[in-house]
Symmetry: C2
Subunit: 334 residues, 2 copies
DNA sequence: CTGAAAGCGCTAACAG
DNA sequence: CTGTTAGCGCTTTCAG
């Protein structure tokens, strides 16, 4: 492998001059600069990033930790982060945490080994203690989780506001018995996506003057299409009556619609369904799915802004930004 | 940051002994070993990987280059690669190539900077020349592309066999006018996914004793759900008659089903639809989608096996493995 | 079985 | 504007 000193020799200059030309750090005489660039091209030199990293302590790599890449929401998020980070000169390494708190901490433990300049953590089960711990190790931005923790940067989703709007929308379409489709709220967790979105559902029911019926919880263990489909089939077979379903995510909503089809119930005529996330599939499902659409590009852009600023200044106070959202109405509720 | 020499001092040994304990390279006295491990724990030491990389020339990172992470197929692939690579002690950096040949070459150019120990390239438009070039730079495994190029490892998909089986299946269900839904085969490319799958469709028609009708090509520019939906709507509005659609991917098939719903056509009563890939959504769409299901876990496992062997021996001849597949019949063709 | 010295390729800091 | 020196933290090599 040709190295910087080889290029320097070829161009008849010192290694530092090559470094300066390649990094644009100091101004270099135009003629020398030209000679250096020619030598680089001629020799096929590529920089050894490990050497630079060892010296500077920065890697140019951002870590993105998500529960599971194969979930459409996180895949779409990943695509956006990779693309936007590239614009900023960063590369992205994707970690899968498996939706466990331990996995999330592990992702950061990895990050501590100087692999990442910063980490975007799309957390599911993380609490304030963990967040504080993580934040000390590495520049960190939490994505999608609402924490009442002043020291950690995070981009919060409009969780309760979103499901509240979704629930009110169903009521405005005439639904009277609106079910909630989600895995159970984890015990003891107070500021979790599932908890917050459930809260919004309740507020929405209250806004619409509807009372909450515990029988209208779709039984499911995990936030998967499979569990959602099975859960709603179970409810249907048990003779529970409902005319609307608010789902905690679009994936769950798609599973619900699948299960309703199995029950012979029509969407939206018999049951209206609304999700949350606006994944790509929602626009093309049959029927197409109404949903709460947080502004994804904005979220990723904001997360990267917070992260790059945090990388520059580790001591600045933590900031919270809440993503804007829109209610998108499609066939499933019309 | 605490470093290896700090641990050594704390344990009262030399740096080399710490290195040996941590890497299990040489056998170390049990008592000393214990002291070292304790010192590691006490000091909170984590290794600086850049330093190791600089010294050893290996990174422990595998690159995965895919056209776009937000496509369900590549997202699922990415999840599997990340998970399986982790089992082997590798981490994965995801690159998005944007489905352009240049992007694919760029991904490898990056890899040359010693960032990756190897690269898995899920290629779309890559040809033999590019592949040969790439292969010289870095251990490389092509995924999903069939190349008649002896020197490059690749995991081929059963492209033409798959769509052939899909087409024959539609015919066996009584379809007489079977359309082909795909972006156009790129001019001049001979061994491209789209080309191979189209070939299989033709073979399938021949097997079934059906003649090919050029009017039964769904007009679409890109392999997106949107283009598929619009394309089939266009065909319908133009009065083209058809009773089956073979789609080049599941995403395209889902778009087709969306478009058929807009046309008021029922699946499978009026039109039967089959896809290729077996993405998760296909099981839960309404109607659920019949598809050609290559063995994904097998493919990833095989790709990683080839890659790790290639990393060990750069001079071994290239190997080609073809993934097994199954025809999965669901509601869309029954 | 353990240690000392050298050096991987780059850049910060200082010198000219 | 350009060059020299030193050293980032680890592992390879050689010596004990």
């Amino acid at each position: 492998m040709v190295k910087m000193s080889d290029v320097a020799r070829l161009a008849g200059v010192s290694t530092m001059t090559v470094s300066n030309v390649l990094n644009g750090r100091r101004s270099v005489n135009t003629e020398i600069r030209r000679r250096v660039l020619e030598a680089v091209k001629e020799s096929g030199y590529v920089m050894n990033r490990s050497a630079r990293t060892l010296r500077t302590g920065t890697t140019g790599v951002i870590g993105l930790a998500v529960p599971a890449l194969h979930h459409a929401y996180f895949a779409e998020l990943g695509g956006r982060v990779v693309a936007q980070a590239a614009q900023l000169g960063y590369r992205v390494t994707v970690e899968q945490t498996g939706a466990h708190v331990q996995g999330e901490i592990d992702a950061v433990a990895l990050a501590r080994t100087l692999e990442y300049d910063g980490l975007i953590l799309s957390a599911i089960g993380i609490g304030p203690e963990e967040a504080r711990f993580l934040n000390q190790s590495i520049p960190l931005v939490l994505l999608g989780e609402k924490l009442f923790e002043e020291t950690v940067d995070h981009i919060a989703m409009p969780n309760s506001k979103g499901t509240r709007a979704a629930t009110v929308h169903l009521a405005s379409q005439g639904c009277k018995r609106i079910a909630w489709a989600s895995s159970p709220a984890p015990v003891g967790e107070t500021h979790n996506v599932v908890v917050d979105r459930l809260l919004g559902y309740r507020q929405g029911l209250a806004d619409a003057g509807l009372s909450e019926d515990p029988g209208l919880r779709v039984p499911m263990d995990h936030l998967t299409m499979r569990d959602a489909a099975e859960g709603i089939r179970q409810m249907g077979k048990n003779g529970v009556e409902f005319d609307g379903v608010v789902a905690v995510t679009d994936a769950v909503a798609l599973g619900i619609m699948r299960g309703l089809a199995d029950l012979g119930l029509r969407v939206p005529q018999d049951v209206r369904v609304i999700g949350y996330d606006d994944i790509e599939q929602s626009e093309f499902s049959t029927p197409s799915l109404s949903t709460i659409a947080p502004d994804h590009e904005w979220m990723v852009s904001a997360a990267l802004t917070l992260l790059t600023e945090r990388i520059k200044d580790r001591s600045a106070p933590g900031r919270e930004l809440v993503a804007p959202f829109r209610l998108i109405t499609r066939e499933s509720t019309s």
